[in-house]
Amino acid sequence: MGKKYEIEYKDYRDLPLSPIAKGTTLVFKTGGWRTMRPIIDLEKCKKCGICWKYCPDVSILIVDDYPKVDLEYCKGCGICANECPFDAIVMVEEESQ
């Protein structure tokens, strides 16, 4: 069925009977929480998938076999960098806007 994006109830009459959530959290761009940003060195990457496996925020995408950080959602915990056996990921400070 798939879930809905952006739902707003302007009138109480439109609300379901009880707080039954139909929407997806994809509307929350948690990338904004990040202070440290993972940078992947694709030259060092051996495509083992460990970074994908250990990401609590489901924010490592696999594109053409290689990992890619989904910066819209990555909170910057650094597990990927810590667990990479090939030191292919480094954490750098987010630049202030």
Partner: protein, 302 residues
Amino acid sequence: MKTTIPEQELMDKGHMACLGCGGALAMRYLLKALGKNSMFAIPACCWAVIPGVFPYSCMEVPLQYVAFEATGAAISGMEAALKAKGKKEGVTVVGWAGDGGTLDIGIQALSGAVERGHDVKYVCYDNEAYMNTGIQRSSATPKGAWTTTTPVGKTKFWKQTNKKNIVEIMVAHDIPYTCTASVAYPEDLIKKAEKMKDIKGPCYMHIYAPCPTGWKYPPEKTIELSRLATETCIFPIYEVTYGKYKLNKNIRDEKKKPVIDYLKTQGRFRNLDEETVQSLQMYVDNEWNKLKKKIECFGEDK
């Protein structure tokens, strides 16, 4: 990419878990294993908040939030209703609760649910304190740990007693399957979850799920620290299938790391004195030896 981990993601991005949350990883793995034909009950715990505020949820499976102590009863009711409606076949009913909701306030309902033999899977993600309310001690908090209700200042007011052994309590219920798992070993966790899914009857899984916020360690260390917990034998990875014990991560004596290696990674153990560290080491050794004896006596191949 070489991995046995299912690609499907049933936990959406954008959830509200802290950076490096072990509990979020645990859920991600469990959902991968159980698939979309599962139905959850979640009591008060971090996971009452992680899925997000109404009208949004990161869960791509049906979920009901329940009262703190009610998880066991809620999954019993779900299972009974699915049976009454002829919809139980192929659907996995899951109770997902933290350590407080399992070892403390929810233990009665959990005990009742598994004793009645409902076809339900109860999964406890253990972060060793009431984290959602701001790090108060639970019966899963290990001896020596700082929490906001076992503060450490001039006095050594840390948690005075050892962690309650819920896994053996569940084994004593004589249910088909009880196991431990860790976010450090997702392949093992997923294999066990798949096994639970196939077993008809009550199953219990206890997942080690570190909390950087409450344990006072940097978020990138979640997996490293989880691995250490098993390598020091503080959190052994094993399963009990129809009464038969099996160790899934054997730690050979020469590879067994001292408890202090684990303790020093976390701020919550920062002020421990030598005496307590030693008593913890003795406790862990004793529990580990007991477990090895059980495997010797009641192992799968015996």
